[in-house]
């Protein structure tokens, strides 16, 4: 017998499935073969150990139930007794086991992950994808604010528990400057604010905003760059901060009873924070995530680090700032970019509201016109965070992002520019 034949027969040999003569022949070969002999010995050793495996016995209860069923069947009972479960896996335990099996199945796990991912995705969707809806919501919120604030200012502010707003005000008091003073709503500050509003001579800043009984039409809001007049939604906190100033001033003329407690609201007539969007008092409905997200991503260099001294300075010299802003814009328009930068940078750093927005815009344009897109990009980034930014600005920003190699952001901005709700250039 050859080795190959023997090896093929080894498994049958150890399992006693070979005829006697074949088995004898195979064993004779294995005795003399250096390969087949050890292999046969190993297999037989394993079989020997395996043969010692004990037989296990079920509980006597199983046999009792089987015999009960057998007896019932013989007795001609049509129906066999219900299959009793041998163990406690019945009733509640059985139900729980089935539920557990279902809940732990891979399908349920995958579905849960999918739901989680979709949920997070929906939650993280930028609000900017639905500008019309946001604008409409802003209208409603403003209308409500206009009706409620003059009537019960204290209830809306001081008496309303707004922890974040209170905390901000507390910090300002600690620094020796009240929120109302900074915001131009205290008696001492209000004349300055009114004066600033009257003195606003630049472009659309000089355009009168018709306060229709404390409310604004949607058309009014959409007129120009700062078309969002105090959207109370978190994603537009910066817009509220940067654009609400003119309206605020006008509203203050009509409703001087408005109190500093309005700092707790970002509604259309709530006083905007002095300089930084991040300083906007978070609303009860504002998510901290979004409030925090506005500044670090988009504030131009230096703007976010504005000190309280600068804020105070800005409050004092708002008239001068407006003059600087007008001269800076004029310089940029005539191509004197050095002069424009010199005039606009201080305004961008210290001004608030639309003054700051205009300064940012013309600084961005000045840098872009000089081919320095790297410096223009931070300003465009801040500007384009506003929901109702004009199409021209979006296209300019997209151009700058493209030049600086940020094509994904450029594409997003171009897509926004194609949306029909984008406004025309403010200037």
């Amino acid at each position: 017998m050859s080795c190959e034949s023997c090896r093929d027969l080894l498994i049958e040999l150890v399992c006693d499935e070979l005829p006697a003569d074949t088995a004898a022949e195979a064993r004779a070969h294995a005795l003399t073969c250096e390969r087949c002999g050890p292999e046969l010995a190993k297999l037989e050793g394993t079989m020997q150990v395996a043969s010692k495996l004990p037989l296990l016995a079920p509980s006597p209860e199983v046999e009792r139930r089987i015999m009960q069923a057998a007896r019932a069947a013989i007795a001609g009972k049509a129906k066999l007794p219900a299959r009793e479960r041998s163990h406690s896996e019945s009733g509640l335990a059985s139900w729980f086991a089935r539920i557990s099996a279902w809940a732990m199945s891979p399908q349920v796990a995958m579905a849960s992950v999918l739901i989680l991912v979709v949920g997070i995705g929906l939650y993280a969707l930028p609000i900017g994808q639905a500008p019309e809806t946001t604008a409409l919501r802003a209208t409603e919120d403003e209308s409500e604010g206009a009706a409620a604030e003059p009537a019960a200012p204290s209830a809306m502010g001081a008496a309303t528990p707004v922890p974040e707003a209170d905390e901000l005000q507390e910090q300002r008091r600690d620094r020796g400057t009240s929120a109302g003073e900074l915001l131009g709503t205290t008696p001492a500050a209000r004349p300055r604010a009114e004066e600033s509003a009257k003195a606003a001579p630049v472009g659309r800043l000089a355009k009168p905003k018709a306060a229709k009984g404390g409310s604004y039409s949607l058309d009014d809001r959409l007129d120009g760059y700062g078309s969002d007049k105090g959207d109370s939604k978190p994603a537009v906190a910066e817009r509220a901060a940067s654009n609400a100033a003119p309206e605020r001033k006008e509203y203050q003329e009509k409703a001087p009873a408005d109190s500093a407690s309005g700092a707790g609201r970002a509604g259309g007539f709530a006083p905007a924070p002095p300089a930084s969007p991040a300083a906007a008092a978070p609303m009860p409905s504002q998510a901290p995530r979004e409030t925090q997200g506005t500044e670090p991503a988009g504030a131009p260099p230096g703007a976010s680090a504005q000190s309280e001294g600068e804020a105070s300075e800005a409050s004092k010299d708002s008239t001068q700032q407006l003059g600087q802003l007008a001269q800076g814009i004029a310089a940029s328009q005539r191509g004197d970019y050095g002069q424009a930068e010199k005039l606009l940078v201080p305004v961008a750093k210290s001004a608030s509201g639309s003054e700051r927005t205009q300064a940012n815009l013309w600084l961005a344009r000045s840098y872009r016109a000089q081919g320095d897109c790297a410096r223009a990009v931070p300003y465009y980034r801040t500007l384009t965070q506003s929901l109702s930014v004009s199409r021209d600005v979006l296209e300019e920003a997209a151009d700058c992002f493209t030049r600086t190699g940020n094509e994904p952001q450029a594409s997003k901005l171009r897509a926004r520019a194609q949306q029909p709700t984008q406004q025309k250039s403010p200037d």
Binding site: L10, I11, E12, V14, C15, E17, K42, L43, G45, T46, M47, V49, A50, S51, K52, L53, P54, L55, L56, A57, P58, S59, V62, E63, R65, I66, M67, A69, A70, R71, A73, I74, L80, R83, R85, S86, H87, E89, S100, A101, M104, S105, P106
Partner: protein, 203 residues
């Protein structure tokens, strides 16, 4: 029919007697097959409760279909096929929950957990103890075999079924059964070889 006479009857004769009203014939069949079948089910499912349920179910099906058994195959083969199919269905249903715990009772009558059955750090000088450990190792190795190899190994080694019968039960060719048996033995061999080395070190 006297009990002694019944115990000498073949499986098929016992079933025939049962269908004619001889209850004790079924008792002999149950006594004859409950331990091998239960062992097979336990080694396949590793769960005492489930194995007892499956064993009961297999016999209930035998009782229900006793009249329709035509004798085309051996009753033993038929009974194993029922048990095997029940076991496979059950394993499919519970596959995702099959995680043997080191601290869970094994349910095979041995109250020690698998952790307890693993070799201790202390030296084992007693040959009997080593033999017990070897058997434990073998059972552990059997549990780790692929299902198709494990069932062939158990049917052949524990229940002494012939390859032809196993092929009939598992619905595969006889050569496939031989191959699976060989693969199973080789796997067990390597698992036991590791243990033998360990046991040698202890001596």
């Amino acid at each position: 029919v006297r009990q002694n006479d019944l115990e000498t009857c073949s499986d098929e004769q016992l079933l025939s007697l049962y269908t004619r009203g001889e209850l004790s014939a079924m008792g002999v069949l149950v006594t004859r097959y409950q331990r091998p079948l239960f062992t097979f089910l336990m080694r396949m499912c590793s769960d005492r409760s489930r194995s007892e349920d499956l064993l009961q179910e297999a016999f209930l099906r035998l009782i229900e279909h006793a009249d329709s058994f035509e004798g085309g195959s051996r009753l033993k083969t038929w009974l194993y096929r029922i048990a095997r199919n029940l076991c496979i269905d059950d394993m499919r249903r519970r596959k995702h929950r099959k995680h043997a715990s080191l601290d869970a009772e094994r349910g095979d009558g041995d109250d020690r957990t698998l952790h307890d059955q693993l070799p201790a750090n202390s030296a084992i000088s007693d040959r009997q103890a080593v033999g017990n450990q070897l058997t434990g190792q073998m059972m552990s190795a059997i549990e780790k075999l692929p299902d198709d190899q494990r069932e062939v190994f158990l049917l052949r080694q524990v229940h002494a079924l012939q390859f032809k019968e196993i092929a009939e039960i598992t619905a595969v060719s006889e050569n496939t059964v031989k191959s699976r048996m060989r693969y199973a033995l080789e796997r067990l061999q390597s698992a036991l070889a590791e243990y033998r080395d360990y046991a040698e070190e202890l001596r």
